[in-house]
Each structure stands twice: as structure tokens, then as C-alpha cells.
């Protein structure tokens, strides 16, 4: 069949294009995995370290970033590096929230969060049309990790998957609000969710952060380690509160302010940061 006469005959309808020996998509994906292998050996969530390594990394780099790191290290004691696999945002949230809940066990705040991240998240996911018979397995992993204060369990892919589902569910529930943010780049919220939220290994952005803060009922503070210059090299912090605040029944003064999950953002990546003990 010639290109000039495409409708002629059909015996060669699918005859191999010139590049018949091209690798299959599976081969391409497995090659990609091989390239990324060094990163895939990295710990999902690393140990708590000081900012020294990061400061060394930027020692000859952008002075604005370096200034921010120095400013950060005066009030924060260190960070946990997360694996750069596109799931770092969800993994960091799961890990840190699990830690915070374990340290505040039995407080009104912890009780309210556990209610929100458990049965209430399941309800939101169900309302959004997810098959809870299948997705419930992932929710179980997350709730078990929280109940047992099991940070190892909180790092699991199944937890990342569940947090992606509840993020998607909150986006759907508040579609009027979120469509305004995504319709520039995606024709529908559904398509955005299908390509930017539900699939594993796809990074999170502003809508995801608002949605997951809402789903879990926690405030997320994100330090933006970018090269913009700020007064005295201060870090830009973005504080994202849940759209619907947590229903904390009674407040005990000794608990102090509600804990927040704090992350350090560099383009395409989130690590967990820890404040110095007061």
C-alpha cells in the first residue's frame, strides 16, 4: 500500500511501519526503571539529619537558597529526605502525620484527626464513586499504621495510593472550587485527576495540597526553597489549612497549638522538616 493511495487494498493494512524493530512500550518502561534504579534504592523516608548536607550541596549555588537554608537551620533542627519517586509528597504527609498522632495520642486533636482520616475519608471516597470493596484494602493499611503508630507501615505504597484516592475524592467533592485552578491546563477535572492524582509516581501540586489538607483535617506548612530573594534571606512559608476545619471537641491548654505537618519544597520534591524543640 502506498501512502498516496491509502484506501487501496487491505492485505497490508497493518504492515509494519519502517521502524518495526522499535522497542515495545514495556521495554521502554523497563529501561526507564533501570535508569532510575539508583534512586529506587534510596530509603522511602530517610533518617533525621541536620541541614549540613543540604547547605553543602548549595555552598557554591544560588546565594538566596543558601541564605534560606541558614535561616531555616536556626529554628529547625533537621530534615528527613524522602525518595524522589513522585510519591514523596504523599509519603512525607503519611509519615509525619503518623508520627505526630503517635506523640499526641489521646488528645482531642488526635482523636479528631483519626476520625477524619478514617471513617470520614472512607465516606468521601465512597461518595466520589470509588469501589470501596477494593480501595478499602488501602484504607486499612493507612488506618492500621496510624492506630499502631507504625511509621514503616505509613510509608507503604498502598498508603500512598489511598491518600491519592482521598485527594481525588476531595477534588471531586469540591469540583466548583478546584476546576478554577485546573481548567487552564486540563479540559476537565476528571482528566486532571486521571493523569495527575490517581496514578502513582506523579508529583503533587497546589490543588493536591489543599485537597489532602482538607481530607486529613491537618494544616500543612510548606517552606519554599526557591531562588527568590527575601528580606534577610527568610524562608517563604505557605500554610495550607483544611477547607473544612477539624471538629476538635475540647481544647486542653497543655496540648499547645495543633501540630502541623511541615515540609521543605524544592521544585518537584518534598522533604520533611522538624522544628527545634522549644
Amino acid at each position: 500500500m502506498s501512502d498516496n493511495n491509502p484506501a487501496a487494498g487491505s492485505t497490508s493494512a497493518g504492515d509494519p511501519p519502517a521502524a518495526y524493530d522499535r522497542p515495545t512500550d514495556e521495554q521502554i518502561l523497563s529501561f526507564e526503571r533501570k535508569i532510575k534504579e539508583p534512586e529506587s534504592q534510596a530509603q522511602l523516608v530517610g533518617p533525621l539529619t541536620s541541614f549540613d548536607n543540604l547547605i553543602a550541596e548549595y555552598a557554591n549555588g544560588n546565594p538566596a537558597i543558601l541564605a534560606k537554608l541558614h535561616a531555616l537551620s536556626t529554628s529547625y533542627c533537621g530534615l528527613r529526605a524522602t525518595r524522589r519517586d513522585g510519591n514523596c509528597f504523599y509519603r512525607a504527609i503519611a509519615f509525619r502525620l503518623c508520627e505526630l498522632l503517635a506523640s499526641r495520642r489521646g488528645t482531642p486533636w488526635a482523636d479528631a484527626v483519626v476520625l477524619r482520616l478514617g471513617p470520614e475519608c472512607r465516606e468521601v471516597a465512597k461518595e466520589a464513586g470509588y469501589n470501596m470493596d477494593l480501595m478499602g484494602d488501602f484504607a486499612d493499611c493507612w488506618e492500621d499504621a496510624v492506630r499502631d503508630g507504625d511509621v514503616e507501615g505509613a510509608m507503604a505504597d498502598s498508603v500512598v495510593c489511598w491518600l491519592r484516592i482521598v485527594t481525588a475524592a476531595v477534588l471531586k467533592k469540591n469540583s466548583d472550587l478546584f476546576e478554577a485552578f485546573i481548567l487552564d491546563s486540563y479540559p476537565t477535572l476528571e482528566l486532571f485527576i486521571g493523569s495527575q492524582v490517581e496514578p502513582m509516581n506523579v508529583e503533587a501540586d497546589q490543588p493536591h495540597i489543599v485537597a489532602i489538607a482538607t481530607a486529613l483535617g491537618v494544616t500543612i506548612r510548606i517552606g519554599n526553597l526557591d531562588s527568590s530573594s527575601t528580606a534577610e534571606g527568610a524562608m517563604n512559608w505557605h500554610e495550607i489549612d483544611p477547607l473544612e476545619p477539624l471538629a476538635v471537641t475540647s481544647k486542653v491548654d497543655t496540648d499547645g497549638p495543633d501540630p502541623v505537618v511541615e515540609l521543605l519544597y524544592r521544585p518537584g520534591h518534598y522533604d520533611i522538616v522538624y522544628k527545634q524543640a522549644a
Partner: protein
């Protein structure tokens, strides 16, 4: 029972119990044998009113051990004329089977999506350039007739049998 088997059995039960709208497209779905849950087969039906109408297209499904974190590998068994299906290997170019896969998908919903792909081709990422070129130059009439003939020859059970019988008769 391991998590993958448990999940697959749930999916199988859901498919058998629900027979929802998807079942109009996914005519059959299940493991090839009782002894191996990781190999499935499915058949999807060409939608009415399209050039695939009357066709029954078999799919081979290989489930990886990391399922559902990783997508299943799904191929057409027989010949399918479609811009995003390799004519010889049956390989399918569909983002949800690659980068857009999510554990929220199931084998059934993936097969349903493949059924939907049949009638919404993406000629700009072709595995079958001949089919794609017809669409790209706007020759939908030529495209439809090519697809219809290919469906009749390879995917309509009665026709395929007749064609096969004739071929044998000619040979003898």
C-alpha cells in the same frame, strides 16, 4: 492468601456479580485456568454502529506480581485494525496501561477502556501507521471500510470460520 490474589478474586467476584454497563463491552473476563490467577483472558465486543460492530476481540492479560501498583499487560490476541494497536503483536498503546495506570483501575475497567479506545482512536500516537494515516488525512470512509473488513475477516466468529474453511479448501 496474598494481597494480589485477594484483590484479583474480589475483581472476579465483582465482574461476575455486577454485569454493569461495562459488561456490554466486556463479554467475558476471567483467569485462564483455576491454577494460575496471574493470567487472565477477556473478550470485548465491537460497539454497535461502528466499524467494529459484530466483532469479538480476545485479550490476553498478564498480571504482574506488583499488581495493582503496576498495570497489567494487555494485548489483543487476534488481528485488530486500529491506529493504536500493533497489527502483528496486538500491543496496545493506551496511557492507562502505562503511565496513567492507577490502582483504582481494575482489569474490568481497563478492558472497558480498551473497548472505548476502539471507537476513539488517537492517530497521533500510532502503532499502526497505515490505519492512522487514513484518519490523519481525513479519509474516514477508507478507514471505516478497512476496519470493517478486518473485523469481518478476523473477529466475527462466523465469518472468520468461513474464511478459514475456504482457505483450507483452496489448499487441499
Amino acid at each position: 492468601m496474598d494481597a494480589v490474589s485477594r484483590r484479583l478474586l474480589k475483581e472476579l467476584r465483582d465482574y461476575r456479580r455486577e454485569r454493569t454497563a461495562a459488561a456490554l463491552t466486556v463479554a467475558s473476563l476471567g483467569p485462564v485456568s483455576d491454577s494460575d490467577l496471574m493470567l487472565w483472558q477477556a473478550a470485548i465486543l465491537g460497539s454497535q454502529g461502528t466499524a467494529y460492530e459484530g466483532g469479538r476481540f480476545d485479550l490476553d492479560i498478564a498480571v504482574p506480581p506488583s499488581y495493582p501498583m503496576q498495570p497489567p499487560t494487555i494485548r489483543f490476541v487476534g488481528r485488530v485494525c486500529h491506529p493504536n494497536v500493533h497489527f502483528k503483536t496486538g500491543e496496545i498503546c493506551l496511557d492507562l496501561l502505562k503511565t496513567a495506570w492507577s490502582p483504582a483501575w481494575t482489569l474490568q475497567s481497563a478492558c472497558f477502556a480498551i473497548g472505548a479506545l476502539l471507537t476513539s482512536p488517537e492517530p497521533d500516537s500510532p502503532l499502526n501507521c497505515d490505519a492512522a494515516n487514513l484518519l490523519r488525512c481525513g479519509d474516514t470512509r477508507g478507514y471505516d471500510s478497512l476496519v470493517r473488513m478486518c473485523t469481518l475477516v478476523h473477529a466475527v466468529p462466523s465469518t472468520s470460520e468461513v474464511v478459514e474453511a475456504e482457505r483450507k479448501a483452496r489448499r487441499t
